[in-house]
């Protein structure tokens, strides 16, 4: 304190030499804070749609497909996975991770409730490339009967490289 009282005049040389450099101590607390911030960031970015996709579905290839449409506010989407079992040659329809069923009868009530919530509603069908049309037809007719006119199929635009 006595140094600063008279230091302005001409005492610059002695007071302002830096102390010999030391390595700063390694502090882990700020690093953990950064980690938590990153974690919160990625948790908020990931959408529920990633959770709904069934990884066993091999999508067909379509080179002229369009980019995935982002949903605007007021638009809703129902994601339907259609699996295919090559061993039994049968398909299974899965919605929202609930157990798979064969016919799309349960689809009607779900569509009605979702349509009531969001008028601009579309159905996104993720069907395996081997699925026979009869399974898709039940989904399409359920959609048509309940007034959903926008149906979209998920595809990939290039073959998966193994």
């Amino acid at each position: 304190m006595s140094g600063s009282a008279h230091g302005r005049g001409g005492g610059k040389k002695a007071e302002t030499r830096l102390p010999p450099e030391e390595d700063p101590e390694f502090q882990i607390a700020p690093m953990i804070d950064i980690l938590l911030v990153l974690l919160v960031f990625f948790m908020s970015i990931s959408s529920t749609e990633v959770l709904q996709t069934n990884e066993n579905v091999r999508l067909p290839v379509a080179k002229d497909s369009k980019e995935k449409k982002k949903l605007a506010a007021g638009e809703g989407q129902l994601l339907i996975n259609v699996l295919w079992n090559s061993n039994t040659n049968s398909g299974a329809i899965e919605i929202d991770g609930q157990p798979a069923f064969e016919r799309a009868d349960q689809l009607g009530p779900i569509l009605v409730t979702k349509l009531a919530a969001t008028p601009e509603f579309r159905v996104l069908v993720r069907a395996d490339k081997e699925v026979r049309y009869e399974y898709l037809r039940t989904i399409l007719s359920a959609a048509g009967a309940n007034g959903v006119s926008n149906v979209t199929f998920s595809v990939v635009d290039k073959e998966e490289s193994k």
Partner: protein, 126 residues
């Protein structure tokens, strides 16, 4: 030797390069859109629709004429025909796809793909 930050930054860069490479190799999902004649006045249209049949073995036909063999994934003939039809009659004509019950989804997507590339706007199923 005390705490050195340079190796940690090197490790971060290696991790970053690894994830950049693996993300580039991933396939991203895209989509093909179509509309169903539902709830918006499904009245008959005055123009004759274009009907494309898909057989169980993958043969594409229209008006009993063959437009695509099962092995033909690019469907060039079909695309040319559709492009001609769009240019002559405009893209308001509905194109109706009629797959057989045992037609594979991959084949149906081939047809949707070809139709979308040819400029068909009004696409539906029957």
């Amino acid at each position: 030797m005390g705490f050195q930050i340079a190796p940690m930054i090197d490790v971060v860069f290696v991790l970053m390069i690894f994830f950049m490479a693996s993300a580039g190799a991933k396939v991203v999902e895209k989509e093909l859109n179509m509309s169903l004649p539902a709830g918006k006045g499904a009245g008959g249209s005055a123009v004759t629709p274009i009907i494309i049949d898909i057989a169980g073995d993958g043969t594409i036909s229209m008006n009993s004429q063959n437009y695509g063999a099962p092995a033909d994934r690019s469907l060039g003939t079909l695309r040319d025909w559709l492009k001609n039809a769009i240019e002559s009659f405009g893209d308001k004509d509905p194109v109706i796809i009629r797959p057989a019950p045992d037609a594979r989804h991959e084949r149906i997507i081939d047809v949707l793909n070809a139709a979308s590339a040819s400029g068909v706007k009004n696409l539906t199923f029957n």
